[in-house]
C-alpha cells in the first residue's frame, strides 16, 4: 500500500503544480518515502534498526530554457513564492544555453509490488541466528560472522500538469560475511542475495552459508595472481560487473551530453564479439532496480544496448534526452529526494548464449574462473577497465587445479575484453544486491549479471 503520508500530500502536490504554473512553463512534484529495516545478527552483536529512511519532495520547474529544483521535507504549507525566492539566482553565471521543455503525455496510474512474506523481526532474527550458530560449530577459525537482512519499502508519487502517478515496491537483501583467522592471516568472504520475497532471500542465505565459509577458509591459502594475460571465465557476478562498470556507465547518455563517453561515437558499430547481447531497464527483469516509473515520471523500459556485438543505443533521463533530442528510457534516478536526477543504470545484464558451462571450463588450457564481485570503477571516456574479483580458481587443461588466487584485478581496454568473448553460457543470473555510485557519489540500488563468459584479459 502506498505510504499514507505521501497519499495525504497528493492534493498539496497538485496545488503547488497549479500555483507554480503561473510563473513557470513546466512544473512537477516528486514525493518519496522510503522505509528501510535492517536486522543484523553477528558473532558479537545483534541489532534491529531503521536505516536510510527518507521522506521528502522535489519541486522541478522550467522557464527560459533552464530547469531549477527545490528539495524539502514537506509541501503542506509550502508557498509557491518560497520556492521561487529560494531557487532564484540574482546572477546566472553561464554561457547562453537552452534546453527543450519536457513534453509529457497524459498518464494517471497507481502501481504496487509488495513482499508476499509477512515475517516478524523475531522470525527473521531467528533465521539469521541459526545460520550464524551453524557456521561457528563448523569452523574454529571463524572469528566473525555477520548475517544481515535489509528490507526496503519505496513509495513515490509524481505529479505534473499531465501526470499523476504513484508506486510502491519492496526489495529484500540478505548478506553473509565470514571472517576467518589463522595466526596473523585474516581473510573474509561474503555473498548477498536480492529478492522480492523475504522468505526466498533468507532461504538463499541459508543454502549458500557453508559455501561462503568454505571459500573464506580456502582464501587463507590463496596467493596473488602472477600478473599477465590469461583466458578467463567470469561467473555471473563478474559478468555483471563488466556489463555495469566496463560498459554500462559509458552508455549513460548524460555522459553523451557532456561528451564524456566514447560510446557516443560507436552507436551502430561493433563493440563486442557477435556472441554478446546486453540489456538494461527497470522492467528488463525483476530485480533490485525494478520500479514502475523513474524519478522523472517516465515509465520503466527494457533497453537492448548491445545486439550481436553492435552498440544499439544508450539509456537516458529526461534532461539528457531533451538535450540530445532522443526519447527518455526511464533511467532518471536520484540517490534521494535531496539530490539531482542523473542517467543511471538499473538492472544491467548480458544476455544468454548457447554454450554449456562445463564445456567452457573444458576448453581452457590455462586460466582462471573469476568469482564474486569485489569492486569496479568506470572510465567511460577512455574505456579503461578496473574490475576486481574477490577470488579466482585456476584451470589447467580443462580442469580446476584446486589453486586459488585472491583478489584478482582485471584491467585493459573495454573493447578488447568484450571483443575477446568466445563462449557464452546458456543461463543468466541477475544479482539484485548491489549499489552503484556515479563517479564517486550518488549511490543508487542496482542489479547486474549475465551468463558465464569466456574471454581473454589482463590480470594483476
Amino acid at each position: 500500500m502506498l505510504d499514507r503520508y505521501l497519499k495525504s500530500r497528493m492534493n498539496d502536490a497538485k496545488r503547488l503544480v497549479q500555483d507554480l504554473h503561473k510563473y513557470y512553463d513546466y512544473v512537477s512534484v516528486l514525493g518519496s518515502a522510503v522505509h528501510t529495516k535492517r536486522i543484523l545478527v553477528s558473532s558479537h552483536l545483534h541489532s534491529i534498526d531503521d536505516v536510510d529512511n527518507e521522506c521528502g519532495f522535489v519541486i522541478k520547474v522550467y522557464k527560459d530554457g533552464r530547469y531549477s529544483e527545490y528539495s524539502c521535507d514537506d509541501i503542506r504549507d509550502l508557498k509557491a513564492s518560497t520556492v521561487i525566492k529560494t531557487i532564484r539566482l540574482e546572477e546566472i553565471y553561464s554561457k547562453d544555453f537552452s534546453v527543450k521543455m519536457l513534453q509529457e503525455d497524459e498518464h494517471v496510474e497507481d502501481y504496487l509490488r509488495e513482499d508476499p512474506s509477512g515475517l516478524s523481526d523475531k522470525q527473521i532474527s531467528d533465521r539469521l541466528k541459526t545460520v550464524k550458530d551453524s557456521l561457528h560449530k563448523k569452523e574454529e577459525r571463524l572469528i566473525n560472522v555477520s548475517a544481515v537482512y535489509v528490507k526496503r519499502q519505496t513509495s513515490k508519487i509524481f505529479v505534473s500538469g499531465k501526470k499523476c502517478l504513484s508506486q510502491k515496491y519492496d526489495w529484500v537483501n540478505t548478506m553473509l560475511n565470514c571472517v576467518v583467522r589463522q595466526d596473523d592471516n585474516i581473510k573474509s568472504n561474503y555473498s548477498s542475495f536480492g529478492e522480492a520475497d523475504s522468505l526466498v532471500a533468507l532461504d538463499k542465505l541459508s543454502d549458500k552459508a557453508e559455501d561462503i565459509l568454505d571459500i573464506a577458509v580456502r582464501m587463507l591459502k590463496a596467493k596473488p595472481v602472477k600478473p599477465g594475460k590469461y583466458t578467463i571465465i567470469t561467473d555471473p557476478s563478474i559478468s555483471g560487473l563488466i556489463a555495469h562498470e566496463a560498459f554500462g556507465h559509458g552508455v549513460e547518455m548524460d555522459m553523451f551530453v557532456k561528451n564524456r563517453a566514447r560510446a557516443k561515437d560507436y552507436v551502430g558499430k561493433y563493440v563486442a564479439s557477435k556472441l554478446v547481447n546486453m540489456y538494461d531497464g527497470a522492467s528488463s527483469c525483476l530485480s533490485a532496480a525494478s520500479y514502475f516509473f523513474d524519478d522523472d515520471g517516465v515509465e520503466a523500459h527494457n533497453t537492448q544496448i548491445i545486439k550481436k556485438g553492435v552498440l544499439q543505443t544508450g539509456i537516458s533521463d529526461c534532461l539528457s534526452a531533451m538535450e540530445l533530442g532522443t526519447i527518455p528510457t526511464g533511467n532518471g534516478r536520484r540517490q534521494d529526494y535531496q539530490r539531482k536526477v542523473y542517467t543511471r543504470m538499473t538492472n544491467t545484464w548480458f544476455g544468454p548464449g548457447e554454450d554449456k558451462y562445463e564445456d567452457m571450463v573444458k576448453s581452457v588450457k590455462h586460466g582462471y574462473l573469476l568469482c564474486q564481485t569485489n569492486n569496479g570503477m568506470e572510465d567511460p571516456k577512455n574505456w579503461q577497465i578496473q574490475c576486481t574479483a574477490s577470488y579466482g580458481l585456476e584451470i589447467k587443461d580443462g580442469k580446476f587445479t584446486g589453486e586459488m588466487v585472491a583478489p584478482v584485478v582485471i584491467s585493459g581496454y573495454v573493447i578488447d575484453l568484450l571483443s575477446s568473448i568466445s563462449m557464452v553460457s546458456d543461463e543468466v543470473t541477475v544479482l539484485g544486491s548491489g549499489m552503484c555510485g556515479k563517479g564517486h557519489k550518488e549511490w543508487v540500488y542496482v542489479a547486474d549479471g549475465g551468463p558465464y563468459l569466456k574471454a581473454e584479459a589482463k590480470l594483476g
Binding site: 521528502g56 531549477s68 521535507d73 546572477e91 553561464s94 569492486n375 571516456k381
Partner: protein, 422 residues
Amino acid sequence: MMKKSEILACLKACDRIDGYEVSLIDKDSRELFYVLDHMEINRAVKVRKVTVKVYVNGKDSVGSSNVIVTAADDEKTLSKKLLNAAKSAKAAQNPYFPLSEKGKDIRNVNKKKRDLNKIATKVAKAVFKADTHSDGWINSTEIFVSEYKEEFLNSNGVDHVNESFRIEVEVIPTWRNGKEEYELYRYIRTDKEDYKKITEEVEAILDKAKARSKALTLKDVKLPEDIDILVKEDMLEYLVENFADDLNYRSAFLKSQHYKKGDLISNTPFDLTMRPVVSGCSASSRFDSHGTVLSPVKLIKAGKANGTFGDIQFGYYNKEKKISGDLKVAQLDAEGVDYKKRPHLIIEYFSAPQLESDSGYWGGEVRLARYFDGKKYIPLTGFSISGNIFEDIKDVRFSRKQTVSTRYKGPEYMIFKGLKIA
C-alpha cells in the same frame, strides 16, 4: 517536521525505554550544475535529518534501535515508532555499555550570515577562471555550497551543537591530443571561501589531464626494478585509515586487529595521532555520534603501536580507562626524505584506490603517474600497482612536503619500494 522539544517530549513520555540519543542535522544548500560552461540546472535544498536511538537495558545487557523521524511523523506516529523501537531494542540485546555522561557541552556556533546563492556563483567564476586553454577544457562541474547545523542530545543531558560550512566542487577536465580526448576527475572539499585556491586546484587538474593525454605506457618505458613509488591524496588517506581502523577499539573487540600495543608496525619511526580538530580538515569534529567529547590519541609512536581509540560502546567492552571517542582526523609526523635525487614513480591518480583491511592487499589501476627517470618527468598510464600494506609499511618513507586533506594532515607522499607493477 516535528520540533526538537516535541521529539524530546515523546521520548520522555515513553516508559519502555531506559535511554536515548537524538541527532538533528539541518542542511541548507545551493547547487549549480554545469555542462562545459553552460549552467544546466540549479538546485536549492532545505532539509532536516533526525535520528533517534532508543536504549533498553537488560540484566547485564543493553539493546538499541534506530528510529528515523521524518516530516511524516507527528506525536502519535512517533510515539508508536518509539514503542516499536523499544520492542526491537529489548529483543536485540548486546553486552552493556553506558551512554556518554554530561560534561562540558560543545557549542560551535557560526554567526556569520551567508548568501549561499552568491557564494555558489563566486565559486563558479573561480572554477571557470582556470578554463583558458584551447586543447583542454572543463567538461563538467558540480558546485555544492552548504551550511550544516548538527545537534546531539542524550538522556544523560549531553547537549552539543556544531555548525559548519562547506564548499564542494566536482570538476571533470578533458584534454585533447590529436583526435583523442582524455579526462580526469577531481573533488575539491573546503570549509574556506578561498576562491584563488579553487582556481589553482582546477588549473592543477587541467594540467594533469594534459599529462594524461601525452602519457606513455609500460610498453614504451622500462622502469628500473625496485623503483621508489610515491602515493598521495585518496590512497594515502586510505592507507592511514587502515592502520587507524586496526587500532580502533572495535577491531580489538572483534579480534580482527593485526597489532596490539608495543608491536612493531614499521622500521621507520613515524608517529600517527588521531585528533578531534585539525585546521583545514573538513572531517574535524569535537564530538562523535555517541556525543562523546573527543580527545587526541597517539596511535603509533616511533613506528610501534602505542594506543587505541574508538567509541564508548567498544571502549567500554574493552575496559578502556579513558575513552577517546571515535576520532576521524589523523595527523602523521615523520622525518621526510629527499626522493627527488633518484628515479621515482609518482602515482597521481588511481581510477579507484583499493585496500582490503583483512588481507592488507592494496593497489589499483593507475590512470596517471609521473615517472622521473633521473632527468625529467614522463607521464605514464594504463598499468596497475599492488602490494601488501602490512609488509610494505615496514620500510615506508615520507616526503618532506606536507599536505592537508579531509581527514589527514602530514607528509604529501608515502614512498614505497618493491610494489608489483603490471
